[in-house]
């Protein structure tokens, strides 16, 4: 009897909670993000970055006199979860806009939700090129991240600089991102350097914990250099296992997938190989300009960390595109905001950033450089580092 | 001859459980199999009813070779069975237990959409009455008293309208009073329906009171067979069985 009473009470409380909050005039943005599991190390700072922008905007009076309300939800590592969470937020929380998703398949999944539900979606991280290309391109999807095509091609630009690297191998996770970035890299490299050949392609599954057999096969094919697209923890795992073999000493390595980001260099510790060429979304130590310094300060203040994650920029930029577009449109009407977004240029974490009207893809380049040990930092940084502009690499 | 067992052999991991057993049972006969614990009685039953597959030998029931048949086929030929440990459908009611057996016996088990409840009410009640459980028909069988569960098990066996009954220790775990009542019930039913009975039993007074013939199993072999008095007088039986006195 007592138990019955307890259960009834619990039920009533729950029903009370579920009554939709009425009267909110906030602009509600749904932000599904990979927050539990292996990719959470990037999902978390990305969500932080979005929150930082929201705080910045709300502190200065909001947009159109309305506050932004950001709903961050965990969507684990699967596109299935991302779809479900997004649909829940659309139907339950009546979100006005959708931003988020981490893996490429999540980006594609959320893009599909946006199309079906006719809600504006901005992808802050997912890179798979196909998302902003026909047939999957549609009017509701935008991407503030770089795409795999520009990433792969910019990698090729750096790779082509070393004339000694003729025999190439690739290693990438066996899923959409790995395939698409590698597919962008190879033809561009061959275009720049017709004399190179691809001697082996390794495709470990996403989340592989044992790269040793793959490393061995790659080494057996005797390449001069390897193009990798293992990101985040996957790269750390790979590096930890490859380092003892002298892999990075013998073979050049060009790594897409933000292997040069702070999380990776800190996570790998001793095993992070110096001398490899890699990229990152942005950095807190470069460029040395006043606006970038101010931005880093903002990040430091917001996170309370001395070396803030470079991934803050992903969530920040996507949200900035959205809020700027709403400002420009003067309304939250989806069609009007879409119009406003097309061709919009914002002041992003990497400087001026333009959302192309043609394919809803931000013309975003990448910081590339060589991982180097410097006395100022307790970890490797990209030095020299350059920002490779995307416009030249995009169609 | 309703049952013929020829040269039956079964071993588990090299242990000879049944080492060449031969016997026959006549129609209408009341036979007991006795033997010390571990003599192979239950294994023998399991071999006959197809719950275990034999290594060698042949079993003929009612002129049909059942040596290689599965348990469910054997039982359809009219060989009813009860088990040493309680073996009923414990989450179902008493009525449903019996009714399930009636259903399969009447070939209705492949019916997917007819409501089951009204089927074979009469037949089921008849059996419930016969085993004295009509009072308890709506109780969940798993919560019945032990003796009732044993009766229910008998009822399930009877619902199949068998020609022959194999009862494995039908009074195991019963009080003296329950034992007597159960034995009387079995005796009555067997006579009334003209059944053949083959049973195992540890209670010697029960064995000698109703059996017409007794077979003694020891270490997987039959060492004696005959009317109760003859078996009782057999010196070898006395040595291996009675001598153990338990």
């Amino acid at each position: 009897m007592k138990r019955l009473l307890v259960i009834t009470t619990i039920c009533m409380v729950m029903v009370a909670f579920s009554l939709p909050a009425m009267g909110a005039k906030d602009i509600v943005v749904g932000f599904p993000m990979y927050l539990s599991g292996g990719g959470a190390v990037f999902g978390k700072p990305s969500a932080e970055g979005a929150k930082m922008l929201v705080k910045e905007v709300n502190d200065s009076g909001g947009v159109l006199g309305r506050k932004i309300k950001l709903l961050v939800r965990d969507c684990k590592n699967s596109p299935d979860e991302a779809t479900r969470v997004a649909k829940e937020m659309i139907n339950k929380n009546n979100i006005d806009f959708l931003v988020g998703g981490l893996t490429s398949s999540q980006g594609l999944a959320l893009s599909e939700v946006a199309k079906q539900e006719q809600i504006l979606y901005i992808a802050p991280i997912s890179k798979v090129a196909g998302m902003t290309e026909p047939p999957r391109l549609h009017k509701y999807v935008f991407r503030s991240a770089a795409n795999s095509k520009t990433e792969g091609r910019s990698g090729a630009v750096l790779a082509a600089k070393n004339k000694k690297w003729k025999r190439w191998a690739t290693i990438g996770p066996d899923y959409s991102y790995g395939h698409s970035v590698t597919a962008a890299f190879i033809p561009w490299l061959k275009k720049l350097r017709p004399d190179v050949e691809i001697v082996h392609q390794a495709w470990p599954k996403l989340g592989e914990s044992d790269y040793m057999p793959f490393i061995n096969v790659v080494m057996a094919s005797k390449p001069d250099a390897v193009f990798g697209s293992l990101w985040g923890g996957h790269f750390i795992n790979f590096a930890k296992q490859a380092s003892p073999l002298g892999f990075f000493k013998k073979i050049g390595f060009v790594s897409a997938g933000e292997a040069g980001c702070l999380e990776a260099v800190k996570g790998a510790g001793d095993d992070m190989p110096a001398g490899i060429i890699s990229n990152t979304y942005d950095t807190f130590y470069y460029p040395d300009t006043p606006w970038h310094k101010a931005w880093v300060k903002q990040c430091q203040a917001f996170t309370g960390e001395k070396y803030p994650s470079s991934w803050l920029g992903t969530g920040y930029d996507a949200m900035k595109f959205l809020t700027e577009a709403i400002k420009k449109a003067g309304t939250t009407d989806t069609d009007a905001v879409i119009k406003a977004l097309e061709g919009l240029t914002i002041n992003s974490s990497v400087g001026k950033l333009k959302m192309r009207a043609k394919d809803h893809q931000a013309a975003r380049g990448q910081y590339w450089g060589t991982l180097t040990k410097v006395p100022e930092y307790p970890f490797l940084i990209l030095k020299p580092v350059e920002y490779i502009d995307a416009e030249k690499l995009m169609e | 001859m309703i049952l013929q067992v020829k040269n039956l052999v079964k071993s588990f991991d090299g242990f000879m459980a049944i080492a060449g057993v031969n016997f026959t049972v006549k129609k209408g006969e009341l036979c007991a199999i006795i033997g010390p614990n571990g003599a192979g009685k239950t294994t023998l039953f399991n071999l006959i009813t197809g719950h275990l597959s034999m290594d060698k030998g042949q079993i003929v029931f009612n002129d049909i070779d059942i040596s290689r048949l599965n348990a469910h086929k054997v039982c359809r030929l009219g060989l009813g069975r009860s088990f040493q440990r309680i073996n009923i459908f414990s989450r179902l009611t008493v009525f449903e237990n019996i009714q399930a057996a009636v259903l399969t016996h009447r070939g209705k088990s492949f019916n997917f959409f007819t409501p089951v409840q009204p089927l074979f009410q009469e037949e089921t009640h008849e059996i419930l009455e016969r085993v004295g459980l009509q009072e308890h028909q709506d109780e969940v069988s798993g919560s019945l008293a032990y003796g009732f569960q044993k009766q229910l098990e008998l009822g399930i066996a009877l619902a199949m309208e068998p020609k022959m009954l194999l009862l494995d220790e039908p009074t195991a775990g019963m009080s003296a009073q329950e034992t007597r009542a159960t034995i009387e019930l079995i005796g009555e039913i067997v006579k009334e329906k003209g059944l053949t009975l083959l049973f195992t039993e540890h209670d010697m007074s029960v064995v000698f009171s109703i059996s017409e013939r007794i077979m003694v199993l020891h270490q997987g072999k039959l060492i004696a067979s005959g009317p109760p008095d003859e078996v009782r007088a057999n010196p070898e039986v006395q040595k291996v069985y009675m001598g153990e006195s338990r």
Binding site: D80, E88, A109 | A101, T104
Partner: protein, 308 residues
């Protein structure tokens, strides 16, 4: 008509009226609940009625979803044909997989069902050209005649009600009664002349059929499908729904699906530690309410009315 049937009709009428409230939240939630409810009830034909712990039921859900999507998008079939074949695809897969599984018992059975579902998942994941690999199949639109969320809700309601009605007829049929005897005591069932393995296989096929139907419905509801539909956490989730509601009552799994989906929707709004909460609910359930929600209320009712 019995009291239970009156209650069911009342619930049905209420469900039919929900879209009139104009709340897209409830329509969304209930569509989801109905689909997973059907999935859980079809699993429970194995779990609660036949005593078979299938730990790979997601396979048939996923096969249903992919079969529907492929038949519509690649084979270009009309909706009616594709939807009918969806159920059959699940039944066919269950026939093949079940043939091997029913030879085993208990935990071995559970392991084998799990193994097969992982294989189904791996095939779908790796067969890029057909299934789209990790990115799945997208753009599965509502069929024309149910071209809105409300219409799809009614469509789902009808399909689920018909399916559940059929399943209920099956569990109350002689066949269903035999399944319960197998659950309680497979050995004894054999001794009343039943080919136990055959009956288990039949139950497996029926369950696979309706699981695939729910998968097909979910494919339309979700508009895109992913290999994760076949992945083992989905199997675990539907098992939890079933136990939460109560595996020994016919509608228990439906209730479990409703409670779990609703809870998840609410809890995830407040915290990202939903797995922790789900785990704790599960532990409480196992230790204090082993009969599930419906089982618990049935017990309470029995206590108030000791004998009938």
């Amino acid at each position: 008509m019995s009291r239970q049937n009156w209650v069911l009709i009342a619930v049905l009428v209420l469900l039919a009226l929900v879209p009139l409230t104009g709340s897209r939240y409830y329509v969304f939630l209930l569509t989801d609940v109905l689909i997973f409810g059907l999935f859980a009830v079809s699993l429970n034909l194995l779990l609660g009625y036949t005593g078979l712990v299938s730990f790979g039921q997601a396979a048939y859900f996923g096969i249903g979803a992919y079969a529907y999507a492929l038949l519509i998008k690649k084979a270009g079939l009309t909706f009616g044909v594709a939807f009918a074949l969806t159920g059959l695809s699940g039944a066919a897969a269950a026939l093949i997989i079940g043939f091997f599984c029913v030879r085993l018992t208990k935990i071995y059975f559970a392991m084998l069902t799990l193994a097969f579902s992982q294989i189904v998942w791996a095939i779908i994941f790796k067969w890029n050209s057909l299934t789209g690999g990790d990115t799945g199949i997208y753009g599965i639109d509502f069929p024309e005649f149910i071209g809105s969320k409300t219409k799809f809700y009614y469509f789902t309601l009808i399909v689920v009600v018909v399916s559940v009605f059929l399943l209920r007829r099956i569990v109350n049929s002689p066949f269903g009664r035999i399944l319960t005897t197998i659950r309680d005591n497979p050995e004894r069932t054999e001794s009343i002349g039943i080919n136990v393995k055959l009956f288990q296989l039949l139950a497996f096929i029926v369950s696979g059929f309706f699981s695939a139907i729910s998968g097909g419905l979910f494919a339309i509801f979700n508009h895109s499908i992913f290999p994760d539909f076949c992945y083992w956490p989905i199997s675990a989730e539907v098992l939890i729904m079933t136990l939460l509601g109560g595996m020994y009552s016919f509608f228990g799994p439906m209730v479990g699906a409703g409670v779990l989906l609703y809870l998840r929707l609410e809890v995830t709004s407040y915290t990202q530690y939903w797995p922790f909460i789900l785990g704790s609910i599960l532990v409480l359930l196992l230790f204090f309410f082993p009969g599930g929600i419906v089982g618990f209320f049935q017990d309470q009712i029995k206590k108030w009315r000791p004998s009938k």
